[in-house]
Symmetry: C2
Subunit: 333 residues, 2 copies
């Protein structure tokens, strides 16, 4: 079972994922790790190569784990968090550990091995968002569902171990450091000004314009003022929306469209670059909903996280946010 | 000039390094960025290709920036922090920025293009540590020297842009998040127990043994209990030492020896892997010296920092620390 270990100085929890554990030899020639010529477990017809699905969209009369699905969700074969119903913290001397109790799933974006959210039709992107919502709500109802993180790792440099386009959902028993700091910062801002900091940011960005990429009826897309890495891009609902899972059918359609358009800017601007996407949203049970505002962040993976960032947790962005926005606006879609 | 921008939610500062700025085209085919066949500015005889040195060890009768040096320190040509004596915070609407006032230097480990700290003789490693100490003390005396970070990025995957073995020194006008949390955590532990948390950790590791790699007269080497990445390894002085720059001549010799031995474990165990090294030490002027304990961390760069880590600041270590230590102990030196 994967385990959480607490750093005795900072009190941060680290996942030690024994299921994912690799032997030292695996690290010597990393090229060898690439599954060479093996069947892709996410391809149509290879449903038996994954653990049994937890959700799939397919015609009603077909059985689970059969083909003809549009989007399919399966447990991660090498989970960082797993269900085992053990929340106890174990103390041994100065060290504390607990089970990495939770869930870790894969959302397969579609049956086609060569398409991604940038190149599928928009209806398919909407199906993926619908799968996010269904699984989010499922995990939210589980005892381990204190925090749910949806992410995409696209491309080897962004950490993807399989090239078939997919997302991952982590449902975990605690709120990690960065979301905790964001929630606290946003609550402090609200206590001070009586307004949501993200709402203010959206208004400021629309007014300034230099970091804006696009604006639709429901969503704003811009490069954040203090982007942590080159071309970081945010998508946010323009009106105050604390919870991703509460968005309406109309908003879903608009979000699918704008997410696809944004990913296409990267796809054409940088020739299908590696990227990470993640959704930050109010954790289940969060009460200060007036102060937090869900958003998506897309970060192409062009530079390496190196010694300075590791040792300080401070980011160096080598591209000026205004220049990044100008370039992304200029892509013909 | 490079600039610091503050995230309006978390209040974290990000460096926007205009000097390092790249055009979007630079990211499309990253292979092109590798300087192909150009002269290495860190090689012996190419001293004119770097900015004028700020320190070099060479025979006394030779002029600055001439050959025959053993270790040479030069300003980084594309600095993330630069001296310009402007500490003012500029506020524009909801956003705050300030000059990235400070220094960013390169410590060239030696004149040989093909050697590194693992393969140079131990005397050379000692010279590098001596250069760290000299420059640390210089920056400590400067108005921008609130925090000084020494790091190594070795190999392209670890973020090195030049392959010639070198370290970097960042002297910056604020204490970044991670060191701040470590200092606070260590001070809290001291307030609670009346002991240094690192001293307690060293005693626990020596007693347990399963994560120990080596112990010398002055230093302990082990894989930390909550290692953030596979094979993370710490080197710490066994007796309480809050400040790296205060270590004695005898300790330097021992440190050079143990640092080189540890790097050789990686060099032989993983065939010269990419790695990051950093030193965490009490910042200049820190008063709670009884609670903090300087240490070196070495992290081979085997896995990618991906969507989960970016979105949560929570780490997933896919190698069990006890297994990592066992492997590193087993390397024949």
């Amino acid at each position: 079972m994967p385990e959480l270990r607490q750093d005795p100085v900072t009190k941060h929890w680290v996942v030690v994922a024994k299921e994912r554990s690799r032997r030292p030899d695996d690290f010597i020639h990393k090229g060898k790790n690439q599954a060479a010529g093996g069947a892709c477990p996410f391809d149509y017809g290879n449903e038996a190569l994954t653990p049994p699905e937890t959700l799939a969209f397919r015609p009603d009369d077909l059985p689970p784990n059969s083909p003809d699905w549009t989007v399919r969700v399966v447990p991660n074969k090498f989970p960082a968090f797993a269900p085992h119903n053990d929340e106890q913290i174990r103390v041994s001397g100065m060290y504390s550990s607990r089970s990495a109790y939770g869930a870790h799933e894969v959302v397969i974006h579609g049956p086609d091995h060569n398409l991604s959210l940038a190149t599928y039709p928009v209806e398919q992107v909407k199906e993926v968002l619908r799968a996010y919502k269904y699984r989010y709500n499922y995990h939210k109802s589980q005892p381990y569902g204190r925090y749910i993180q949806i992410i995409i790792n696209h491309g080897k440099e962004a950490g993807a171990s399989l090239e078939h386009s997919h997302s991952q959902i982590f449902a975990i028993p605690l709120i990690p450091e960065l979301p905790k700091e964001q929630l606290r910062g946003a609550a402090d801002y609200y206590a001070d000004k009586g307004r949501c900091v993200y709402c203010d940011m959206i208004a400021a960005e629309i007014e300034t314009g230099s970091r804006m990429i696009e604006k639709t009826a429901n969503f704003a897309v811009f490069v954040p003022y203090a982007a942590i890495l080159p071309f970081e891009t945010w998508i946010l609902p323009i009106t105050h929306r604390p919870q991703f899972e509460e968005i309406s059918e109309a908003e879903y359609s608009d979000l699918a469209e704008i997410l696809r358009r944004t990913l296409r800017r990267f796809y054409y601007g940088f020739e299908d670059p590696p990227f990470n996407m993640y959704i930050h949203t109010s954790p289940p049970g969060y009460t200060k909903l007036e102060s937090y505002h869900w958003h998506m962040s897309i970060i192409p993976k062009f530079t390496r996280i190196a010694g300075f960032e590791l040792s300080t947790a401070m980011w160096i962005d080598v591209t000026i946010p205004e220049d990044a926005a100008q370039f992304l606006r200029s892509i013909r879609l």
